[in-house]
Symmetry: C2
Subunit: 451 residues, 2 copies
Amino acid sequence: MNTHSNTVELIRKKRGGGVLTRMEIESLIGGYVTGDVPDYQMSAFLMAVFFNGMDTGETAVFTDVMLHSGSIIDLSSIPGRKVDKHSTGGVGDKVSLILAPMVAACGVAVPMISGRGLGHTGGTLDKLESIPGFRTGLTLDEYRDVIRETGLVLSGQTAEIAPADRRMYALRDVTATVESIPLIAGSIMSKKLAEGIDALVLDVKTGDGAFMQSYDDSVSLATALVSIGNSCGKETVAFITGMDQPLGMMIGNWLEVLESAECLKGKNVPDLMELTYVLGGAMVHLGGKARTLAEGITECRSAIWSGRAYEKFLQVVERQGGDASFIRDPGRYPASKFSLEVRATSPGYITGFATRRIGVLAVELGAGRQRVEDPVDPKAGIVLSKKIGARVGKDDLLAVIKTDREEVAGRAVREFSSCVTIGDSPLPAKSCVRATVDKDGVHAWTTPRTY
Amino acid sequence: MNTHSNTVELIRKKRGGGVLTRMEIESLIGGYVTGDVPDYQMSAFLMAVFFNGMDTGETAVFTDVMLHSGSIIDLSSIPGRKVDKHSTGGVGDKVSLILAPMVAACGVAVPMISGRGLGHTGGTLDKLESIPGFRTGLTLDEYRDVIRETGLVLSGQTAEIAPADRRMYALRDVTATVESIPLIAGSIMSKKLAEGIDALVLDVKTGDGAFMQSYDDSVSLATALVSIGNSCGKETVAFITGMDQPLGMMIGNWLEVLESAECLKGKNVPDLMELTYVLGGAMVHLGGKARTLAEGITECRSAIWSGRAYEKFLQVVERQGGDASFIRDPGRYPASKFSLEVRATSPGYITGFATRRIGVLAVELGAGRQRVEDPVDPKAGIVLSKKIGARVGKDDLLAVIKTDREEVAGRAVREFSSCVTIGDSPLPAKSCVRATVDKDGVHAWTTPRTY
């Protein structure tokens, strides 16, 4: 095999627990991008990182080198601080759709590059593309034009952004090297830092429906992400938030657009809007339009109440080619072939959801994809009627399942029923925000649930 | 990337410390041979094995599956038990050249497939090919014909033998996954078990010049090798032997053929012949031509003294196309351009050699290769005058260095000098055999040095 021996020494060094220098990481990533370092050497390196990790400084350099493998968007011509939010992904997580126009309506520019759903989690791009005509594949020029005109932009990753990460992510997926905190952190941050942002708010999910199921792993990931962001000169804070039940009431691409539009018009879906206000408030604060998080939250509530956030949403949808008439009049949207009611078989209180399995069910209904190349059915999904803490009587409606797939429809009701736990007494109400992580460390979340 | 997800699950299982089943190993190795499992998945798997190992049963199955990835030579038409020896490699280790004809002269057939030198160690094929005309690239038919006619055969690995190992070995070399005991054991044994042998004697080197430098690692490797051999129904014993000084007095391909020929004619080079008799005696014993190891050693000494071993050597050299006239009259062989004397700068006793560095120096002189594709200079090498324990006076000759490479010649004497330690008092004589490993476990070596 025709491979320069230097790479073998770098793999060996990481294999032995060594810390790579900037020059060594540049040689490795640079060689990978040019093709001098083949996939089989990179995958051996990635597996060595899985076992031996990377320290904080090494992870920051790794991210920086991946970031500089492609273009970094320059938004310095746009006045004010640009702030984005990134979530590690969950079930029913449509926060971005509400938050981006809400924060933009507060006067903070939001350049947002999102991904597609994979595995049991949904993706913002798929949700946006359920709006007929909506274009997420913007060029860099269009990207800059949209944010200049509307104060926000909702785009997919372009080929110019962090190409090293794109290739490496595909490789990790097929070599069982995804679950490594420094690799996850480097992948997320190399893309986010390329967006042209000044500050970043992170939503790191924890619990059954999250990618990182254990609280400790979520805190470790959040700490790594915050450390990288701040070391790159971008003020970064993270919120550890619960993903032990789907967020909001709707799961599925078009359903989540609908729920977002309702919330933008003032509907209060408690867990969803609590989280949206906290994350949005932090963005407004980091964007310099509020002196504190609490002030930021107040600004956000005002943007919703006044209707400015909803108007901003319609504006960006139309600017990116979307047909907003479907949002104004959802009855025009096609309906799924099957609409199946799930009812409680016994009375009591809802005490839990098997959230990951509900995410997997939504994928099977057509709302997500098992492989990158799979198509998505925008109509498919689940509408919940009850969440944790709710009282249910026998035969009460728990959810409505929507799908075109007959073979899944036949077992979907039974499958969903088995994902709901009904107990004898209600669980105490709990904030879905568990902790915050900033450059000073991890802080317990003490703000009361209602503002 | 177009890869079946099953392989990802196998990598993940090994990554998590799981034990793969026979079916899983067959899927992995079988897929690798057909190309369904690409190099980048195999290298991630190999790195996971580096960290999490394989248990005894798993290693045996791994070896068996690699063995059956290619042809297994059938030597059942050759009467008697066929026995081979394998060494993990060292500096100046020309044992095979003496031992194979010696054991064949005792009536035990020796089907020997050898490798080339790589790194700081020499290889039997390079030594044999220093004899003008000698052919090591035999077909399977030629292989069987030579052993039928002469009682031994000295061949290189054919494309039919363990193709999975050949591809995997090249991959391990460039992905820093060589140093894993189950992978080393599987690689060695899958080739050896394909030779058509009934029993196997292993020489596992330990010490500075060995691949496994620590004694404990050498014992672990020997234990793994012996376990695999016996579990495959081939009686296998291993000897742990010292590689803290070069074996014998000569290093370099043609020089080692010369030293072997002298030993076959009766010259006693103490450490070299001690080891050759022990390993050869074990082969004669396992081959059924002696009741004990000691009796086997007596048979081997008789084969040397009587001249039968030397005649057998000349016979196989000529049968495989070699010009034996160079062995009978070494003066005809071309001489190196440079012949440099290394002399002691102070009097005392030799107490140690930096054996690995001497092996590296021999490679630089032209005797070995840094990369697989490098050519080898058969004439180049080092002739030692003194070994550990020898008394030296100031200006006494320590070694003669032979090379055609002017740029190396200029620094070779200084480099060799720095590899020799001269102390004030002699070290006690020590057997180069440290321990034996058989199916009952590890045994200290207690036989006296002289027989």
